[in-house]
Symmetry: C2
Subunit: 230 residues, 2 copies
């Protein structure tokens, strides 16, 4: 029964791909993120021969972009859940609560904080066009769904929340890299704690900055916007 056998082999292939994604997730969590991640380490951790990975992913970038898509979906679902809970409790989210819903759910996903640096730097631009199109479409759909849910549950507008989501991703991305130094840099921080202050207040700083951004976005800007004078 070739049909049955093909189905089983497809199933086994899907399982292998999941094993590789799990291995990458675990390696990123143990090391300082995906910064030094290699496909060889991923296949090794998944118990596969190095050459086997090409059957599942064409490149490291493609594997990490797959992880990014799943993390985006998880972030979106968490934000939607928080918006629904607020509505069920009969509370309207103000600017700071809207920021907290986004920041709290993103900080709970360190891998996504890390990937938000790598996505525009080296992931979405290094995969085939069709793969990039799929990633872009899915992430924009998530932004749209999150914006609609938070606008429905609170006082900020869709446009303000769109800006806030972009700001949240950027701040968390940058702060995460600073908060996860290499061994050399970590040693420097031990020797010179005065140089480390921004590295170890990661969550507080991101929370504080995004609350401020949300408060500011909710304060309408009276005049027409032109870029800051250079």
């Amino acid at each position: 029964m070739p049909t049955h056998r093909r189905a089983r082999s497809q199933e086994a292939k899907r399982q292998r791909a999941e094993d590789l994604l799990d291995a990458a997730r675990e390696l990123a969590a143990r090391a300082t993120g995906v910064r030094h991640l290699t496909l060889a380490a991923v296949t090794d951790a998944a118990g596969l021969h190095p050459s086997a990975i090409r059957r599942y992913f064409d490149s490291k970038e493609e594997l990490l972009l797959e992880l990014a898509e799943r993390e985006w979906a998880d972030w979106r679902e968490d934000v939607l859940r928080r918006a629904a809970l607020a509505t069920a409790a009969g509370t309207r989210l103000g600017p700071e609560e809207t920021a907290d819903a986004l920041t709290g759910s993103l900080l709970a996903r360190p891998l996504l904080c890390d990937l938000f640096t790598h996505i525009p730097l080296s992931l979405e631009g290094e995969v085939p066009l069709e793969r990039a199109r799929r990633y872009k479409t899915l992430s924009l759909e998530s932004v749209t769904a999150m914006s609609a849910a938070l606008a429905g549950a609170g006082t900020m507008t869709l446009a303000q929340i769109g800006d806030l989501i972009a700001a949240t991703a950027a701040q968390a991305a940058h702060a995460w890299q600073i908060a996860h130094p290499t061994a050399t840099l970590a040693l420097l921080y031990v020797q010179h704690p005065e140089l480390s202050h921004s590295a170890y207040e990661f969550e507080l700083r991101v929370t504080r900055l995004l609350r401020a951004t949300a408060r500011g976005l909710a304060t309408a800007e009276p005049r027409e916007l032109s870029p800051a004078p250079e």
Copy 2:
């Protein structure tokens, strides 16, 4: 006269190092930043043999960190100049003007916007500890000088401006990478303009977000800050 000869050779060595830094700067401006920059391309552009670079820089990271230090100093001087101009004109910078002074002078330095992604990701952690210490010390001194100048020329506090500088670096870093896609991604944006919107409003978005952040920071937060609930 060996002393004289040594002095001339030191002078020649310094000049060569400058040539290499200039070549790296030019290559970064022509390509999509330092993303794909190699030491081989830098030595080639400077007219040197590939093996010669090790006499001037131990690694690509060290060369780029040297560029980063100079860009930091230029950014600081530009901000100090803007603060002095405002004081001379008898105007007090409000939160939005303070944001504009930082954002406008940073956006005029695309190489620094680009480097702000690479510094915490791969530069400061990959050089010897002593080199990282020098970079950290200089950049913190710049933050201190910029904060003092802007606090003296306007209405924001030192702490608020410290947060605003961190926010400015993070937003500009993230937005710069998005606004400078690879050839594949640029083609995708031509085919699907609806996927490109955040890529091509780089300066407007960064300016708008940082003005909002400054407005929000200037609005005192009444309650004690705890991280956003995860």
